[in-house]
C-alpha cells in the first residue's frame, strides 16, 4: 500500500527540525482568554494582539454583542440549512441590505466565509473558454476559485500593469475575460494601483473582480476600500469582502451592480451547498457594518497607528515589506524561517503576538512577521510594541 501521507514528509521534516531547536510551535498558539480586541491571555501571559486583522476592533463593541445575544434568543443557535432552502432568515436579508448601503451597490450576496465568496464567485462566473487574468500574489481562495472552475488561468507579475496588459491583449478575440485583483495584498501590506489596472482591464474588454478583504472599513473615505480611495469603485464589477476582519465576526460577501447578479444565488455551488451563517453572526455583522459607515475617527486613529509603527520599526533597523505604510498591515521581513521563529518566540515572551508567515503563503519564499494594527490600539500600546520589537530583535539577532 502506498501511504498517501508520504507526500507530506518534507513538510513534516521541516516542522520537526524547527521544533527540535526548542522554539515554541508558532502554529499552535492558544488564546486562553480574550480581554479586548487588543489584549488576550496566552500561556498565562497578558499579550498584546498585533496579528488578528481585527482592524476596527469591532469584536467587543457593546452594540454588536447585544445584537448577537438578541438574535440567539430570537432565532436560535443556527439555521441548519442552505440559503436557498430554509437558511435565509430576516437577519441574512438585513445584513445584505446593510452591505448594499455600505457600498452603495445594487446587489449583495452573503457567503459563510470569505474563502467561499472567492471560491464561489470566481469558479462560477469564469467557465470553460473564458480567461482569468490574475496577480501572482493572489490569496489562496482566489487560486482555489480558479482551480475549481474550468477557465484558462493566466497569472502576471505582482502589481505589474504592463505584464497584465500584454496578457490581456494576447487572449483570443471573443473570449470572456475576468481580471482578479486585490486592494491590499495581505502578506506585505502593499496596495494595488487599481485605478490604472482597472482602466487597462476595461480597455481590453475584461470584467473586474477586486478582493477588498483587508481594506474594508478602513481605507477610503467611507471605508469601502482601495478602489473607493483611488476613485474607481464604479468600474469594479464585483467586490469580494469578508466579515472576519474589520467587521469582527465571520462570513464573506460579494457586492455588485451587475443587473443579472441575483442569478448567482441559484448557480453558485459554494453558496447553495452549505449551511448559511448562524443568526447571531449575521446580526453582529449587520450591526458592525452599519457602525463602520460612521467610523471616520477610528479610521484616522488606525492610520496614525500604522504610520507610527512603520516609522518606529524602520528607525530601529527592521526591514519592512513596504517603504511607506500603505495599509494597517506592517510586515517585518525575517532572514529565514528559523530566525523568524526565534524572533516570533522572543516577541511572545515580551507579551506580543504577531503572525509568523512562511511559504507557500508568502511571496518569493519569504519568512515574515506580519503585524496588523487595530483602531483600538492606544498610542501608548504602539510605543510599547516598538520597545518589544527592539528588545526581541536584539535577543534573536535580527537587528
Amino acid at each position: 500500500m502506498t501511504d498517501l501521507f508520504s507526500k507530506f514528509d518534507p513538510l513534516i521534516e521541516t516542522r520537526r527540525a524547527l521544533l527540535a531547536t526548542g522554539v515554541t510551535d508558532p502554529f499552535n498558539l492558544v488564546m486562553e482568554r480574550v480581554i479586548s480586541p487588543t489584549v488576550a491571555m496566552c500561556s498565562g501571559r497578558e499579550t498584546i494582539l498585533l496579528g488578528t486583522y481585527n482592524y476596527m476592533g469591532m469584536t467587543f463593541d457593546p452594540d454588536v454583542i447585544e445584537a448577537g445575544k438578541q438574535a440567539l434568543d430570537d432565532f436560535g443557535a443556527g439555521t441548519t440549512g442552505s440559503r436557498v432552502l430554509n437558511g435565509t432568515y430576516a437577519g441574512h436579508r438585513a445584513v445584505e441590505e446593510a452591505l448594499k448601503e455600505f457600498y452603495a451597490m445594487d446587489h449583495a450576496m452573503v457567503f459563510s466565509t470569505g474563502y467561499q465568496a472567492n471560491l464561489g464567485i470566481i469558479s462560477t462566473i469564469a467557465s470553460k473558454g473564458d480567461y482569468i487574468v490574475l496577480d501572482i500574489d493572489s490569496h489562496a481562495s482566489i487560486w482555489d476559485g480558479c482551480k475549481m472552475g474550468d477557465a484558462e488561468v493566466v497569472p502576471f507579475k505582482h502589481n505589474d500593469i504592463e505584464a497584465m496588459e500584454k496578457r490581456l491583449k494576447r487572449i483570443p478575440e471573443g473570449a470572456g475575460k475576468l481580471v482578479v485583483l486585490e486592494g491590499v495584498y495581505s502578506m506585505l501590506g502593499d496596495i494595488a494601483p487599481l485605478k490604472e489596472m482597472i482602466r487597462v482591464a476595461k480597455e481590453n474588454g475584461a470584467m473586474v473582480l477586486v478582493d477588498e478583504a483587508h481594506s474594508m472599513g478602513f481605507i477610503g473615505p467611507n471605508g469601502r476600500g482601495v478602489a473607493e480611495d483611488q476613485g474607481c469603485l464604479d468600474d469594479v464589477d464585483f467586490v469580494i469582502g469578508t466579515f472576519s476582519k474589520s467587521v469582527g465576526t465571520v462570513g464573506g460577501f460579494c457586492v455588485s451592480n451587475h443587473p443579472k447578479f441575483e442569478i448567482m444565488r441559484l448557480v453558485c455551488r459554494p453558496y447553495v451547498f452549505t449551511a448559511s451563517l448562524p443568526p447571531s453572526v449575521v446580526a453582529t455583522a449587520c450591526t458592525s457594518i452599519r457602525k463602520l459607515m460612521h467610523a471616520g475617527n477610528k479610521r484616522a486613529h488606525l492610520w496614525e497607528n500604522s504610520r507610527v509603527l512603520h516609522k518606529g520599526l524602520k528607525d530601529k533597523g527592521f526591514q519592512l515589506g513596504t517603504d511607506e505604510p500603505q495599509s494597517a498591515i506592517i510586515s517585518v521581513i525575517m532572514p529565514d524561517l528559523e530566525r523568524g521563529a526565534m524572533m516570533w518566540e522572543a516577541l511572545l515572551h515580551e507579551g506580543l503576538y504577531v503572525n509568523l508567515a512562511r511559504p507557500p503563503a508568502t511571496p518569493a519564499g519569504m519568512t515574515l512577521l506580519r503585524c496588523s494594527l487595530c483602531a483600538e490600539h492606544s498610542a501608548e500600546q504602539v510605543q510599547t510594541i516598538i520597545g518589544m520589537f527592539e528588545r526581541a530583535g536584539h535577543t534573536a539577532g535580527i537587528i
Binding site: Y131, E152, V153, K157, R167, R170, I171, P360
Partner: protein, 79 residues
Amino acid sequence: MDRAATAEKIAALIEPFNKKGVAISDATTFAGDLEFDSLTVMDFVAAIEDDFDIIITMNQQAEIENYGQLVDAVVKLQG
C-alpha cells in the same frame, strides 16, 4: 517558426534561469533537473510568452514537465 528554430530561441531564453548550468535535452525536467521554484517558473514563462507573443496558461503549464514538451507546446501555440 519550425521546431528547431523554436528550440534554439528557447535555449537562449532558458540560459539566465539555468543557474547550475545543467546540460539540457528534451527529457530535462523543470522541477526536478533544473530545480525551478514557482517564482522562477513564472519569470521563465513570462520571458517565453513575451518573446513569442503567446500565452501559456496555468492549465497548459500543468501538462508541461520537461523541455521537449515545452518546445512542442510553444511550436503549437504559435499556430
